[in-house]
Symmetry: C2
Subunit: 127 residues, 2 copies
Amino acid sequence: MASKGMTTAAFFVLTALADQPRHGYGILREVEELSDGAVQLRVGTLYGVLDRLTADGMIVLDREEVHDGRLRRYYRLTDEGAQALDAEAERMAAGASAAKQRIAEGRKAPGAAANPTTGPGLAGGLA
Amino acid sequence: MASKGMTTAAFFVLTALADQPRHGYGILREVEELSDGAVQLRVGTLYGVLDRLTADGMIVLDREEVHDGRLRRYYRLTDEGAQALDAEAERMAAGASAAKQRIAEGRKAPGAAANPTTGPGLAGGLA
DNA sequence: CGATATATATCGGTTGCCGATATATCCTGG
DNA sequence: CCAGGATATATCGGCAACCGATATATATCG
């Protein structure tokens, strides 16, 4: 499936490519920008991720251009990649929501929870 | 710091411990339950994560109990762990939100985005 | 008595991130 | 004019982390 278990680096590369095709170095800058500087994708990480995502059919080489004598290799999201990104975003939102809810519960009752059986958790969050 | 870069496994272990102390095997079941079966934490992964989180001061050994001749080792979130979990949940929510927005943008204008300069992205999401 | 569930823990293989390094061009500052 | 930084690509080796397999031990069920 490849739809399960996506690394943070892969997630942000896909996100950077979600609105338009970009080249490697551009992805680096874009990821830092869209995460407000919180995520700094490393050069050494990028190309491994790019190769893996290409092999998994999540992205494809869109085109190659030359600017000022420097090659730019543009990558683009595939439909499968967009789908996987969407699913991963859903999972992340659900996980974040579940975590926040449980933190609130723990603060209300520090030592014993009201109803541990699944609780309000999420469960209906994705599905 | 340890506040940056948390693995998925660590995140879900902290989430499982957010409302009440649990023991290893209980965490395994709880993570699967709270993620609606989407995340299956492996036994081989668990103890490594537990040791790492303990070393980082995110969790502590709460108590040890014996049930039916079987030892149960309960772990509990520290204040630092709760704080880190909260911060990570925030980051995940922001990332998920940014991804969804960009997917929507890509569908509206497939080939050229309206305003690539940072865009509405998030930027104000965290901070 | 064997299988399954509970509950702990370790080990080795594989995957994946990251720092360092290499190559090449363009621009700016001294 | 040359050193340094930004742009832009790519590779390699070390290290961290996930996961399957395996081991040990007890209780229950068939």
